[in-house]
Amino acid sequence: QHCFFPFSFKDAVDLSKFPADRIRNFCIIAHIDHGKSTLADRLLEMTGAIAKTEKNKQVLDKLQVERERGITVKAQTASLFYNHEGQQYLLNLIDTPGHVDFSYEVSRSISACQGVLLIVDANQGIQAQTVANFYLAFEAQLAIIPVINKIDLKNADPERVESQIEKVFDIPREECIRISAKLGTNVENVLQAVVDRIPPPEASIDDPFKALVFDSNFDHYRGVVANIAVFGGRVKKGDRIVSAYLGKTYEVNELGLLRPDEHSTGKLFAGQVGYIVAGMKDVKEAQIGDTLYLQEQPVEALPGFKPAKAMVFAGMYPMDQSEYQGLRSAIEKLTLNDSSVTVQRDSSLALGAGWRLGFLGLLHMEVFNQRLEQEYNASVIVTAPTVPYKAVLSSAKLIKEHGSKEITIVNPAQFPDRTVVSEYLEPMVLGTILAPDSYTGKIMSLCLNRRAVQKNMLYIDDQRVMMKYLFPLNEVVVDFYDLLKSLSSGYASFDYENAGYQAADLIKMDILLNGRPVEELITIVHRDRAYSSGKAMCERLKDSIPRQMFEIAVQAAIGSKVIARETIKAYKKNVLAKCYGGDITRKMKLLKKQAEGKKKMRLIGSVEVPKDAFINVLKRKQK
C-alpha cells in the first residue's frame, strides 16, 4: 500500500469527508511534448490512483489516435487522494491537450479549475503554446504554478527558462519548481504546491446543488456519461436533476470519481469533480457547458461556454450512400465527445448526401477522421479543407434570399460569383512564433510568402525571439506549421488566435481530372496566389494518383481558363517479370492489397483517386 493513498481500492470513499477547503481542482497546461502526460502519470502513481509500474506511459491518453500520434486530444480527469500535513486532500487533475488545434478543450478544462501547473521543458524553454496556454489561465484568473520539467536532460538549462518565465509572464523565478517527471524528482513538491498555492473552490455544501457539465462521453450501454464540476450543494444516486439548457428532468443512476477509471461513490459534494450517468440517451441531451440542478431547487444557470469557433471546414461523405445512416450515427457519437466540431447537412451531385463539418484546425480534422475510421470503422471521403470566407452581397435579390447582406461561405462549391458581390472577406489570425534567432530570416521570408504582416518582435532571452504576425487563416491552416518546423529543424513553435476579417481579392479555383471537375478539390484562393497554388496542387495530385492504364491530365482552372497542367503518363508496362520458383505468396499479398485499395478509390470519370489524395494534395512536401 502506498503511503500517499489512505484507501484500498475496494473501500467505499466517503466524499463528505472532503469539504471544499480540502479540495483542489487543477489542470496541467504545456506546449506539446513538454511532459504533461508524464507528470500526470507520476502524480497518479504517487497518490496510488494507479500502480507504479514501468508501463505507465501516458495513462490518461486513452484514445488509440492519442497513443499513435503521441498527442492528447481529449481532456481526461483523475481524482487523487493526497495526505499533506496530517490532512487528507482530494486533488482533481484535469489533463489537457497540447496542440494549438485543441485550445478549446484547454479553456474548458480551465473553467473547472482554480489553478494550473504550467509546464515548461528545461531544454526547449517557452514555446508558442506555453504562451497561449498561459494567457488562457491568466485571463481566467487562475493560480499559476510554473514547473520546469526535464531537468535530468543533458542540455537542461533551468536558469535560462526561469528568466524567460520572469520576462514573458512576470512570474518571480523563485516560484518555479524544477522537476524531472520521468524520474520523479521533486514531484512531491508539485503536490505540496498544489495544496499550498491553489485556492480551494468557492463552493458551499449548504447551497442548492449546482453543477457544470464540462465534458461528456457516450457509452453504448449507459448512454451519456457527463463529467461535472459541482459548484454548490450535493447530489446523490436517485436524485432527480434538471438540465438548465433543455429543461428536461433525469434521475441520477450512477455517479462518482474518475481515478482515472470510473469509481462509483453514490454522492458528490460541493467543490468536487466527477462523472454522472442520468439516463440521457440522446447524444444531444448532454450539452457541454450546461448547468444541472435539483428538480425542487432551481438555480440560475452558469455562464457556460462560448461555442468553439470552427476555423477549418470540410465535407465528409460516405464512400457509398448505403453507409449514410451508419456514418451519421458515428458522427453524432463522436461530436458528442467533441462538441467543438460543428455539423451541417450537405449534399453534392458528385458525392451524394453528406455533411459539412467545422473543425478547430487541420490536426483536429485529421484526428476526427482517424477516430471515425478507428473507433467506428467508418470509411469516408473528406474534401479539401477550407476556411470560413465571407462575401458582402451586392445583388438585392440575393440579399433578400439570404436574409442578410453578408454571408459566410464554408463550402467552396457555393462561393458566390464576383458579379453579385461587392467585397470578399477572409478570416485573419494573429500568429505567435517562438524560435531561436538564427532562424529569424527564414521564418520572416516564409511569413511574407504567406501574405503575413509583422506586428511585433521580442527577444525573450539573448537567443530566442518571439514574433507576432497577422496572417490570412487559409495561409496557415494546412501546412504552415509543418513547414515552419522543418525550416527551423523543429525549434520553432507556433500558435494563433482569431483576429477578425479583412477584405481580400478571392477567386474560386477548380481542379480537373481528364476534364472532369473534382468537387472535393474546389478551393478558394487569393488572386495573386492562384497560379502558384494551382500549379502546386497539380504537381502534388500527380504524385498522389497512381499511374493508370491511360493518360491523365491534371489541370487547375479559374472559370473556363486552365492555369496549370500536369500529366500522369499511362502505364506502358506493369507486370511482374518473374512469378515462379513457387513463391507467389508475396505477389498475391501485394495484389490483394491493391484489390482492397481499389474498393476504397474514388472514381472521377474513370480515374481512380485514393481518398487520402484530397488532403495530401494540400500539404506541401517537406523538402
Binding site: 508496362k573 520458383g581 495484389l591
Partner: protein, 455 residues
C-alpha cells in the same frame, strides 16, 4: 495405390539419359484431360540448392555463400525431405522436377541423381518427365553438364543474363560472355532442343538499341527457349543501394517498357512464341515445370526456403496448403534430421484463395484460362458468371486489353504487358461473386449437401 507403387520404376542414374529428345514431345500437356482427381494425385517437384559462390548485386533470393563443405549432408537432407513430403502428399506421379537455387550447378551431379532416385522410390517419375537444372555458365558449371545429364537432367536453364562483360561485372556475376556462349553450345550438344537461356533487361546503362543488338546475338546461338526478365531492384541488395545513392542509374519505366515490347516483337519474328509474360519457345519447347505452376497444379517444394502448394491427405487434409520451408540452410537441415522435413509455415488455402491463385497465375499465360481449366477449380461458377457482369471488367474488355470468349479469359497482346493493372479489378470481382454465391447457398439450400470443392 499399390499397383501404382508397384509400377514405379526404380531408376539407376546412369539409365536416366535421353538420346531421343527431339522436339517438345516429352510429356505432352495433360491440362485439359487432367481431371479433378489428377489435381491431387500429381505434383511437380521443386528442389532448392541454396548455395552460391558469390552474391549477385541484384539478387535477394534465398541463397548463402557457404562454407564448410556440407554438400553431403545437404544431399541427404534433400532426399529425406523429398521422401517425407511425397509421402505426406500421397501423389502417385511426379510430373516434372526442377533444380533451382542458389546455384544448383554447384551441387555434385550425384546429388541430383540421389534426389531423383528418392523421387522414383516414392512415386512414379516417367522416363520422359522434364528434369531441369539451373546452370551458371562458368567453366566449372560447363564441365559438369554431361555428368548432370547422366544423373537424369534432361533440360538446362542457363543464367546468361547479359552478353556484355561490363554489365556482368556490375551485376556481380561470376562468368564472362564468352563462357556463356560456350556453355550454351555444350548444353545444346547434350540436350538438343531442351536448353533455355535466361536474359535480363532494364540493366544499368542499358539502351533499347544495345538491347536489340544483344537479342540478335543471342538469337544466333540460343536453342528453343528463352526467358526474359526485367531487372527488379529489390530492397536490401547492393544494386538497390547503389541506385538509391545515385552511383548507378537504371533505365526509366518507359524505356524498359519499350525494351519489353521490342523483345516480344523480335522474338516473334524469329519464330519464338510467347507463352507467358517472360517466356518464349520455338517448336513447342515450353517449360512444362513452369507451365504447371501457371496452370494451378500442385507442386512440392523441397530445400531451404522452398515453397509448395499441395494437399496433405496423409495428414487427413482436404484443402490445398501453402507451405514454406525454413530459410536458413543449417537450421533447415537440423529440422529435416529431427522430423523429416523443414516446413516452417503452413497455411490452408480456402476456396477463394485457391481461385485467386489460379486466376493470377493463369492470366500470365498468353492462352490465359480456358473454360475447362477454370471449371476444374470452380465447378459452380463459370468464368462468364464470375467476370461477365462487372462493369470494370467490361471496360477492360472494351479497351481490348482483356478477352473473354468461347475459349476463355486471357490478355490481348497489349493487355499482357499491363496485367498487374488489371488483376486487382479481376480479384475484386472474383471475391464479390464468390461471397455472393456463398450467401446464396447459405440462404437457399442450406439442406443440400455441399458439393466438394476441388483443391
Amino acid at each position: 495405390m499399390m499397383s501404382l507403387r508397384a509400377a514405379r520404376r526404380a531408376l539407376s542414374p546412369g539409365v536416366r539419359r535421353f538420346s531421343d529428345t527431339s522436339g517438345g514431345e516429352i510429356v505432352e500437356d495433360v491440362s485439359e484431360r487432367t481431371g479433378c482427381a489428377q489435381l491431387t494425385t500429381q505434383a511437380s517437384l521443386y528442389v532448392h540448392w541454396p548455395y552460391c559462390l558469390r552474391r549477385c548485386s541484384y539478387c535477394n533470393f534465398n541463397k548463402y555463400i557457404s562454407r564448410d563443405n556440407n554438400d553431403h549432408m545437404m544431399t541427404e537432407c534433400l532426399q529425406k525431405e523429398t521422401e517425407t513430403l511425397l509421402q505426406l502428399s500421397q501423389v502417385s506421379c511426379v510430373t516434372s522436377v526442377f533444380f533451382g537455387g542458389g546455384t544448383p550447378s554447384l551441387a555434385h551431379p550425384s546429388t541430383v541423381a540421389a534426389v531423383l532416385e528418392t523421387v522414383s522410390g516414392q512415386a512414379s517419375l516417367s522416363e520422359k518427365a522434364e528434369v531441369t537444372l539451373e546452370v551458371n555458365p562458368t567453366p566449372v558449371g560447363m564441365s559438369k553438364l554431361e555428368d548432370f545429364c547422366r544423373a537424369g537432367v534432361n533440360r538446362f536453364s542457363i543464367g546468361v543474363q547479359s552478353l556484355q562483360d561490363d554489365d556482368l561485372k556490375i551485376l556481380g556475376r561470376d562468368h564472362s560472355s564468352r563462357q556463356a556462349l560456350q556453355t550454351i553450345e555444350e548444353a545444346r550438344r547434350l540436350c538438343p532442343g531442351r536448353v533455355s537461356v535466361d536474359v535480363m533487361f532494364g540493366r544499368p546503362k542499358q539502351s533499347v538499341e544495345s538491347w536489340e543488338n544483344e537479342l540478335s546475338k543471342l538469337l544466333r546461338v540460343c536453342d528453343d527457349h528463352m526467358s526474359l526478365y526485367q531487372l527488379t531492384l529489390e530492397r536490401g541488395t547492393q544494386l538497390f543501394k547503389q541506385v538509391q545513392g545515385g552511383e548507378v542509374t537504371v533505365p526509366a519505366e518507359d524505356v524498359t517498357a519499350e525494351m519489353y515490347q521490342c523483345a516480344r516483337r523480335t522474338l516473334h519474328q524469329h519464330g519464338f512464341l510467347q507463352y507467358e509474360v517472360s517466356n518464349f519457345a520455338k517448336h513447342k519447347a515450353v517449360s512444362h515445370h513452369n507451365m504447371s505452376y501457371w496452370k494451378g497444379r500442385q507442386y512440392i517444394g523441397v530445400g531451404p526456403g522452398a515453397h509448395g502448394r499441395f494437399v496433405l491427405p496423409g495428414e487427413g487434409g482436404v484443402a490445398r496448403e501453402a507451405r514454406t520451408q525454413t530459410l536458413e540452410p543449417d537450421v533447415w537441415m537440423r529440422e529435416v534430421q529431427q522430423r523429416g522435413h523443414g516446413t516452417r509455415r503452413r497455411i490452408q488455402l480456402n476456396h477463394l484463395e485457391l481461385l485467386e491463385e489460379v486466376l493470377v497465375m493463369g492470366m500470365r499465360m498468353t492462352e490465359g484460362i480456358n473454360h475447362k481449366h477454370w471449371e476444374l477449380f470452380s465447378p459452380q461458377l463459370s468464368l462468364r458468371e464470375v467476370f461477365g457482369r462487372s462493369t470494370d471488367v467490361q471496360e477492360l474488355l472494351q479497351s481490348g486489353r482483356l478477352i473473354l470468349d468461347d475459349r476463355g479469359l486471357r490478355c490481348s497482346w497489349d493487355g499482357l504487358a499491363l496485367l498487374d493493372s488489371m488483376l486487382p479489378a479481376l480479384l475484386v470481382e472474383l471475391e464479390r461473386q464468390i461471397s455472393q454465391r456463398l450467401q446464396r447457398d447459405h440462404h437457399t439450400d442450406g439442406q443440400t449437401k455441399k458439393t466438394s470443392n476441388p483443391r
